[in-house]
């Protein structure tokens, strides 16, 4: 019951007028960002992060979390109305959401998406509340060797489970880690990797600069080609009759929704998985378990509910390792982690002891954000229909201006703005050539922790490399990392073997 006490304390923080206002503002902004085709939660958080200096640090994180939440809801809106996923996380929602809209049931689809998101969000926040404190307690026993092993594990999940080209994933992880070492050596304090003798590199390459470059400028460059033709918006109106009908229909989908929520939560915790695969898996599984699988893809409301519960649940799930272990479960939570470090709130088990007000305030704000998001979402549907008609060039120009000014604001150096343009162009090219971006951003955020824990361990153990496998916890993390790392190799060998047999 200690838990309920903490949660009650948390609500005292999150229900303060300022934080309540921030949550509503955040989810509304998030809904719009999510609804815009091409822009998702990660872009929203990257672009808005520099603007959050306007509120105190703990409220800033609540604001970012609310944007994250809102964007997860908003992604469904353009999936349904435009047939273009508002973010990669809502790809699966287009499968049945678009046919529903074409059959004149856009309003119903939007209600289903909102209610499903609410269920997914709420179930996962409850799971989050239950797991957070115990996991943080376990993590208290972590020393530098465990920290290093855990970061290594996070990276190897990308190699083993990421689904992208293995070599390209490895390159992006290395590139991110190298960029994180720019500046001053952690132990000796000597300058290193000062490219072209530019003084700006002494303070390192900020994760924020990289994120704005890739998810702001790079994303806009990427959408220029995909958004050449003006999309056609399906009209949607919302009546109380439809709302009642929608809730009635959703009432029959408890099995799909509870399944999607729980699965989404656990898939979301894995660094390499996250909301997109969780939504696709939930869609596939609900089709598999359905009595009428042939109606999927033709406007089945279950096909909207399943991915929407799962992607919202996954977004909460990916917050869990970020907050308790300091290892983010997705690029968006990596940015949240970077933001928290910037404000002096270092995520990890100690945060639960040193800043309980903040931690429980944030957790309870997820409950309010969820409720606010479903209400704002339903209330503003006509506004979204109007906003989606906005020409894409207007949105792009505004985002680019925010990238330039937002990139300048935190450090007030033009050096960072130049880096943003450079990272944007380079990120665009790499993304076009199928290089995954998520491991890069995670590596830049986790790089300092990885190097520090590695070298701390070796210094305290007088250079004994076996220190990493002498402790049971870090040994099991390392063993798991090795398994993930060898997974693609095993697949390759099996394919070769099969190829040989086929030849014979």
């Amino acid at each position: 019951m200690e838990l309920l006490g903490h949660l009650a304390d948390g609500f005292a923080t999150s229900l303060s007028p300022l934080n309540l206002m921030i949550v509503i503002l955040g989810v509304t902004a998030g809904l719009f960002i999510g609804a815009m085709p091409g822009l998702g939660s990660v872009n929203g958080v990257a672009i808005v992060l520099p603007l959050t200096f306007i509120v105190p640090p703990s409220s800033a994180i609540i604001l970012l979390a609310a944007i994250y939440y809102g964007a997860m809801y908003g992604g469904a809106i353009s999936s349904i109305l435009l047939g273009i996923p508002g973010a990669s996380t809502s790809v699966a929602t287009t499968f049945d959401g678009r046919p529903m809209a074409q059959q004149g049931k856009a309003g119903l689809a939007l209600i289903a998406a909102a209610v499903a998101s609410f269920v997914g969000g709420t179930v996962s926040v409850v799971l989050f509340t239950l797991f957070a404190a115990p996991l943080a307690d376990v993590a208290l026993a972590f020393g530098p060797p465990e920290e290093f092993a855990l970061v290594l594990l996070a990276f190897t999940t990308f190699v083993g489970l990421g689904g992208d080209d293995v070599l390209k994933t490895i390159i992006m992880i290395c590139l991110g880690l190298i960029l994180s070492t720019v500046g001053l050596d952690l132990i000796s304090g000597q300058p290193r990797l000062i490219f072209f003798d530019q003084p700006g590199f002494y303070s390192g390459v900020s994760f924020l600069v990289l994120a704005i470059g890739i998810y702001g400028v790079g994303e806009i460059l990427y959408t220029i080609e995909t958004s050449k033709s003006a999309p056609s918006v399906t009209p949607a109106k919302l009546t109380f009759k439809e709302l009642k009908l929608g809730i009635q229909q959703m009432n029959k989908l408890w099995r799909t929704m509870s399944f999607g929520s729980i699965m989404g939560f656990f898939v979301g915790m894995l660094p390499a998985a996250g909301a997109t695969p969780a939504a696709l898996m939930a869609y596939g599984l609900s089709k598999l378990m359905s009595k009428k699988p042939e109606t999927f893809g033709k406007g089945n409301i279950e096909g909207v509910a399943a991915p929407e519960t799962a992607n919202n649940a996954a977004s909460t799930g990916s917050l869990l390792p970020m907050l308790t272990l300091g290892i983010p479960g997705s690029p968006t939570t990596a940015l949240l982690l970077g933001g928290m470090v910037m404000w002096g709130l270092v995520p990890g088990p100690m945060l639960f002891i040193e800043q309980p007000d903040f931690v429980w305030g944030l957790i309870s704000s997820l409950y309010t954000a969820n409720l606010a998001a479903v209400l704002v979402n339903l209330a503003l549907i006509p506004v979204f229909v109007w906003a989606l008609r906005m020409p894409f060039t207007v949105l792009c120009s505004m985002v680019l201006i925010l990238c330039i000014v937002g990139g300048y604001a935190p450090s007030q150096k033009m050096h960072d703005v130049w880096l943003i343009v450079g990272f944007g162009a380079a990120g665009y090219l790499l993304r076009k050539a199928d290089y995954p971006m998520a491991p890069l951003v995670l590596a830049v955020v986790l790089g300092p922790l990885m190097e520090k824990s590695f070298r701390q361990t070796l210094i305290s153990e007088q250079g004994n490399v076996l220190a990493f496998i002498e402790r049971p916890l870090s040994a099991s993390f390392i063993a798991l990392s090795v398994v993930f790392f060898l997974l693609p190799l095993l697949k390759h060998v099996r394919r070769l073997f099969r190829g040989k047999r086929a030849e014979v």
Binding site: I54, R192, I401, I404, I459, G463
Partner: protein, 163 residues
């Protein structure tokens, strides 16, 4: 697509060599005194892994095992993307000299009127309202001064009003 894939892999190999060249300024080997690797070891060996992985992509592509076909860019996309990158570069270059309040509106006029082919009403209303928003949000509320360059003297009366 195949050529682009090879070129990017080759560029990444060169980049990792450049990183390595920088990293060897600090010790990259084992430091016997303190235990553990030196300050340059982390970037150096990671660059080495990156070099090998990029080399692997290049070799794979040269052996014809690449899954790519078709064009990397279509000419129209390439023109738009390069246009936006040039405009951004020009804007950022102009900021220290002409100030944010000259460079950013010029960028908006180019983007909305020439690139986006919108009417003057939309272009001008956004071009005029954006700097006002930026001024009140960043300078007045957050107390973050944006670079003004040549236009600095014009802002002195405004500073007097708001600070």
């Amino acid at each position: 697509m195949l050529t682009a894939d090879r070129m990017i892999a080759a560029a990444l190999m060169l980049l990792s060599l450049y990183f390595m060249w920088h990293a060897i300024e600090l010790p990259i080997g084992w430091n016997g005194m303190t235990g553990g690797p030196g300050g340059g070891a982390f970037p150096f060996w990671l660059s080495a892994i990156m070099f090998l992985a990029a080399g692997g992509i290049l070799i794979r592509s040269l052996r014809g095992n690449s899954a790519y076909s078709g064009d990397f860019f279509d000419p129209e996309t390439l023109r738009s993307v390069i246009g936006v990158i040039i405009a951004l570069t020009a804007t950022v270059a102009l900021i220290p000299w002409g100030g944010a309040y000259i460079a950013l509106p010029l960028f908006l006029i180019w983007y909305l009127k020439i690139f986006g082919k919108h009417g003057w009403v939309l272009t001008l209303s956004l071009t005029l309202s954006t700097p006002i928003f930026l001024f009140f949000f960043f300078e007045v509320t957050l107390k973050i001064l944006l670079p003004k360059g040549l236009t600095e003297p014009l802002f002195v009366p405004l500073y007097a009003m708001f600070f």
